[in-house]
Symmetry: C2
Subunit: 181 residues, 2 copies
């Protein structure tokens, strides 16, 4: 029930990982092919289990694997991985085995065929539940079916893309009384 | 051509304001009614002009004003406004004039009827261009028609919601070579 440093994580809490808007790495697999890409255009659509919408351009190799498999893993890297994130984002899986080239550590997921990225502090296994906007906006709706978390991750320094290699790095956490989930 | 401290901002750059995933305040107006709410569930869908998707629950008063007007302003607050953001998010415009109660400074927008929030460092005037997922996911697609920016805002300390009043505050900026917009 462990994957490297990752342990199972509650689907009721997992929305809070994506809500702050981090850059994510998305892995896909179909048949013997697999890919990984970087992505910032995602949003929550429901809390529990987390329903996620993301835009994944049809120009990406990952798009064809997502369409074929209807599954993926959404993994969240920290600033320590910024060089890897940018290199993953700047080449195509059509011509490069990004996992090998960038030394990405993987482990089998529990439910989906796409691999977990065990260097990322959080991993969400997802299934596509609505692809009716795939052509219109390159937009997919996904349901999170399993979540993994590094229990040692405290206030993780997530990356937040501003364009052209510029990233805001997550800063301090503040807490004020609120009744809003 | 100015609104308080805000000046016009390029629609080609405006996507970079929302991509890092900040909490936003959304203003709406229809007839003599207006409202403001806090929202974290948004994503970019296109770069220029920025096309934005956001989920705005039908339970919100703002939902009815957005449906009536098909317009809004998306304003981005910094950590200095965290108390206001939480208070805006914890009550309903059905029973409270949030602008008056929380002392929100407004100015007329250029294109839409919803007001700008001049205490926020960035404001995006938006029109709903697709509401076909309004019932399915409370999801609206908006096109940014005008953008406003405080030119003095440097590395703004945006808020990133983690749930129950917990926010990550934007930290430092890092830059690495990348060919990705």
């Amino acid at each position: 029930m462990e994957r490297g440093k990752l342990k199972p994580y509650s689907l009721s809490k997992a929305y809070g990982l994506l809500e702050p808007g981090p850059v994510v790495l998305v892995t896909t697999a179909a048949g013997k092919k697999r890919d990984v890409m970087a992505l910032s255009w995602h949003t929550l659509l429901d809390f529990e289990p987390p329903v996620i919408g993301f835009a994944l351009s049809e120009g990406n190799y990952s798009y064809s694997l997502l369409e074929a498999s209807r599954e993926c893993v959404i993994a969240i890297p920290t600033a320590a991985m910024v060089s890897t994130v940018v290199r993953v984002g700047n080449c195509s899986g059509r011509t490069v085995d990004k996992f090998g080239k960038f030394g990405l550590e993987t482990a089998p997921a529990a439910v989906v065929k796409a691999p977990l990225l065990t260097d990322c502090f959080a991993n969400l296994e997802c299934r596509v539940i609505d692809r009716s906007w795939a052509r219109k906006y390159n937009f997919f709706v996904l349901e999170t079916v399993r979540a993994w978390m590094d229990p040692a991750a405290r206030n993780p320094k997530t990356l937040h893309h501003r364009g052209w290699g510029s990233f805001m790095v997550a800063g301090r956490t503040i807490k004020v009384p609120s009744n809003k989930r």
